[in-house]
């Protein structure tokens, strides 16, 4: 999948990656899957199981897109508050999605695990963003070598990035 999409426009890469994970992964909560309340799995772990929860989807998609050469500035992992069970439902759930910003100031396209379509953020009224992050500052400019020393891996996000790298996925 990654090899095929190497030379495609970025918009297509987004769709292909989203499709790929939507088809190949089934949703399963961390407690069911990893016997931990909240476990961040690397893409290989996720694909290996064929199962994952929202952040596993988001991480896998993020790393795949980075591997396809999408700029880090255009990608954000976004913590969102998701309204589940229709527009009038009061049930909300902590959720994570991947946002793709075509330009820095534009509305992002949202790659979600709850639905298979890639929609602009404006269309996703069920989601309200809370906080976004990417790997900026974690890596030195244009290099994939970590500037952080080993203790910095205590952060889960950093751990996942480094572990992914150790597993052989490079971007």
């Amino acid at each position: 999948m990654l090899v095929q999409s190497q030379n495609k426009p970025e918009q297509q890469k987004i769709l292909i990656v989203n499709d790929f994970f939507a088809r190949n992964l089934r949703y399963r909560t961390d407690i069911q899957l990893w016997q931990q309340k909240d476990y961040w799995a690397t893409p290989l772990e996720t694909l290996g199981k064929g199962l994952g929860d929202c952040e596993d989807y988001a991480i896998a998609k993020y790393i795949s897109l980075r591997a396809l050469g999408v700029d880090d500035n255009k990608l954000r992992l976004i913590y969102v508050k998701a309204q589940i069970g229709g527009p009038r439902s009061n049930r909300t759930q902590a959720h994570m999605v991947l946002g793709y910003f075509v330009t820095p100031n534009a509305q992002p396209l949202i790659l979600d695990s709850l639905i298979t379509k890639v929609l602009p953020a404006a269309k996703r009224t069920d989601l309200s963003p809370v906080f976004s992050f990417n790997s900026q500052g974690l890596w030195a400019n244009n290099s994939t070598k970590s500037v952080a020393n080993p203790t910095a891996r205590l952060s889960r996000w950093r751990r996942i990035l480094e572990q992914t790298q150790r597993e052989g996925v490079m971007w």
């Binding site: 500035n73 954000r76 976004i78 946002g99 910003f101 820095p104 100031n105 534009a106 509305q107 992002p108 949202i110 953020a121 404006a122 963003p129 809370v130 906080f131 976004s132 992050f133 990417n134 900026q136 500052g137 974690l138 030195a140 500037v147 952080a148 020393n149 080993p150 203790t151 910095a152 205590l154 952060s155």
Partner: protein, 661 residues
């Protein structure tokens, strides 16, 4: 303590083992000190850096999260960032919009702490990456937060910890130094013994030392001890062999007395030494009809008689030993015996006494026509061995003409002496000493290749207005017990003129028996020399072999004392007793001067050649030089050189002192 003697340079300005070990220890301690200091401070620096970075990241994330939740009007943003910056410890907080434009920025400027030195700041600058975090406004990106903590706090802490580490490591290093100095001194203590032994070996003293515990030292010391004992063994064997040989070559087998050859040499030497002022006398005894004993009573009886006769002579000499200073007995032929006495006054009395003894002895052999006539005469100033023996022989012919035990003597006492009574002699010698009316004569001791080994000194005295050589007044001084005063006089004279005279740089001075046996006289000379180390280093004391053998313990102590102050010891008139010197190798002798008895006419004496060759090789094996006394004949000199002698004592170069006659 070893630590303080560390920089004490030794004499040859080469580095000692102790210094080398110290150098090694110091290098190890220094390397340990510096590396532990560097490692500690660098690991502290790394730890601080990583902690600071984590703080940057965490605080950036918190701030970004907070801003994401807030309304994003410029005033609120300014306030939030200002509040965070002002209440925290930050170098920089910056908020940029997605295009990189600055929305709000706070930067710390100025120094608040100057206690950290610049070099340290330069060396340990903390290069901590800023914490970066994203801010979103709804779905859209709002900006990026850059946050840097102030690193000067950390640098200060790092500096303080470095200073603390420095002092604690310094303390550890000092403790290590003290501990090493203790262990080093313990380890090296046996080394001092080893070095002492080695240098004593170098000084020809083959001593043994205690075997230390350290394995290498123990091996070294035991090999050196082995070397010492092997040398002792070799020397002991050599001496034994030499002694046997010498005795055989010089003595009559039957009676154990000196033989004719040996006695002739002795007499010759005696005549030479007395330098025209002989004070001796010669006895010649003849046993008449000796063969009748073996014919009538048997050979065993004859041998028995000869032994009794010899014993009688020896006992006679022992009983009268206060009437002369030296005696030499010899069996000249089958029936003839001689006795040479030196410094004798009353010849007639001695002659009568021995005659009486012989009459008694002869009376026990009634069946045989035994008779022991004898003759005796004083040695005259112009006597040679030949004239003396001829005179005494002629006298004996008269005495033996009647075949009875009787004596014939010439009371030819030397009348040409300066004074004729002891008191005048005493007065004159003491006066010369008191008034410093003295001079020295130099007998150069040179090696065969012409190198001056030293000058042998004798003291000349101004007696009655004229300067007299040592040989002239010597026997009087000896009789009057003035020898130690003369020794003291020469030392005092030397100290006085030592600096002025170039020819006194290498000298030897004879110390008399009187001085050596007199504790206070010897101590006076040695203490005096201690005050003049320059002289002490150049002086060599000559001691007569006979004294050294008779007073071995005193001589041994003397050698130790003299060697310790840098002076040397030589044996003089070396001959028969040389092999009796026990532990010769421990004495540290510089040279031996072989008596002229041996050197004289050496070309003709095969036995003496063998003996002297043995003496030379033994002496050389322990580094002692061998010098011949009183040999002038070129043939003899060539022979001595081929036997292994190192040199000879020559006649005085200083001929300004003329002999009075």
């Amino acid at each position: 303590m070893a630590f303080f003697s560390l920089f004490k340079r030794n004499r040859k300005s080469s580095i000692t083992l102790r210094q080398e070990l110290w150098l090694a220890i110091l290098v190890v301690i220094l390397v340990g000190f510096i590396s532990s200091l560097l490692i500690s401070t660098y690991s502290a620096k790394n730890y601080f850096s990583s902690q600071l970075y984590l703080k940057n990241v965490d605080n950036a994330n918190n701030l970004a999260l907070m801003i994401s939740q807030l309304e994003k009007d410029p005033v609120s943003l300014e306030l939030l960032i200002s509040a965070t910056f002002d209440t925290g410890h930050y170098q920089r907080i910056e908020l940029q919009d997605p295009t990189g434009e600055v929305i709000a920025k706070r930067v710390f400027s100025g120094d608040f702490d100057t206690s950290t030195p610049d070099w340290f700041h330069h060396l340990y600058h903390l290069d901590v990456a800023p914490g970066v975090s994203q801010v979103n406004d709804g779905w859209s990106q709002f900006g990026t937060v850059f946050l840097e903590s102030h690193s000067q706090y950390t640098e200060q802490a790092l500096w303080q910890s470095a200073v603390r580490l420095f002092f604690s490591f310094l303390l550890v290093a000092i403790v290590a130094c003290i501990a090493s100095s203790y262990f080093l001194s313990r380890i090296l203590r046996p080394l001092d013994d080893v070095v002492y032994q080695a240098s004593e070996l170098g000084n020809k003293r083959f001593i043994k030392s205690k075997v230390p515990h350290t394995y290498e030292f123990a091996r070294l010391v035991s090999s050196m001890n082995q070397l010492s004992s092997r040398f002792s063994q070799i020397i002991k064997e050599d001496k034994k062999r030499l002694e046997e040989f010498r005795f055989k070559s010089q003595h009559d087998e039957l009676t154990g007395l000196a033989n004719r050859e040996y006695f002739s040499a002795t007499l010759e030497a005696q005549l030479k030494q007395s330098e025209d002022h002989a004070h001796g006398a010669l006895f010649l005894f003849r046993v008449m009809n000796l063969d009748q004993i073996s014919e009538r009573l048997g050979r065993v009886e004859m041998v028995d008689f000869l032994r009794r006769f010899t014993k009688t002579l020896i006992l006679f000499l022992e009983e009268n030993e206060d009437r002369f200073s030296e005696n030499h007995i010899a069996r000249m032929s089958h029936t003839d015996f001689t006795v040479l006495l030196t410094d004798i006054d009353d010849l007639k009395l001695l002659s009568e006494r021995i005659l009486q003894l012989h009459k008694t002895l002869v009376s026990e052999y009634q069946g045989v026509d035994l008779a022991v006539p004898h003759s005796c005469t004083f040695i005259e100033s112009k006597d040679t061995r030949f004239t003396l023996l001829k005179r005494v022989d002629n006298l004996l012919k008269v005495a033996s003409s009647e075949q009875t035990t009787q004596a014939e003597l010439t009371d030819n006492k030397n009348k040409s002496e300066l004074f004729d009574n002891p008191d005048s002699w005493r007065e004159a010698i003491e006066q010369a000493l008191d008034n410093d009316d003295l001079d020295i004569m130099l007998y150069p001791v040179t090696s065969f290749n012409g190198k001056l080994l030293h000058n042998q000194l004798t003291l000349s005295l101004l007696l009655n207005g004229e300067l007299y050589r040592h040989g002239y007044y010597y026997h009087w001084a000896k009789r009057l017990k003035l020898l130690s005063r003369l020794d003291w006089g020469i030392i005092k004279y030397l100290v006085r003129v030592f600096d002025e005279r170039e020819d006194l740089k290498l000298i030897s001075v004879e110390l008399s028996e009187e001085t050596l046996l007199d504790d206070s006289a010897l101590a006076a000379i040695l203490t005096y020399l201690l005050a003049f180390p320059d002289l002490a280093k150049h002086i060599c004391f000559d001691i007569k072999e006979s004294i050294a053998v008779a007073e071995l313990k005193i001589f041994r102590d003397f050698c130790g004392q003299v060697n310790s102050m840098g002076a040397k010891v030589a044996l003089k008139r070396v001959g028969s007793a040389f092999t009796k010197l026990d532990k010769l190798q421990e004495l540290g002798l510089e040279m031996i001067k072989v008596d002229s008895i041996y050197g004289h006419n050496i070309s003709y004496s095969q036995d003496n050649q063998t003996f002297l060759r043995g003496v030379c090789s033994m002496a050389h094996s322990i580094g002692i030089k061998v010098i011949a006394e009183g040999v002038n004949n070129p043939d003899d000199l060539t022979m001595l050189q081929s036997l292994g002698f190192d040199g000879v004592v020559s006649q005085p170069t200083d001929e300004t002192v003329e002999q009075d006659n």
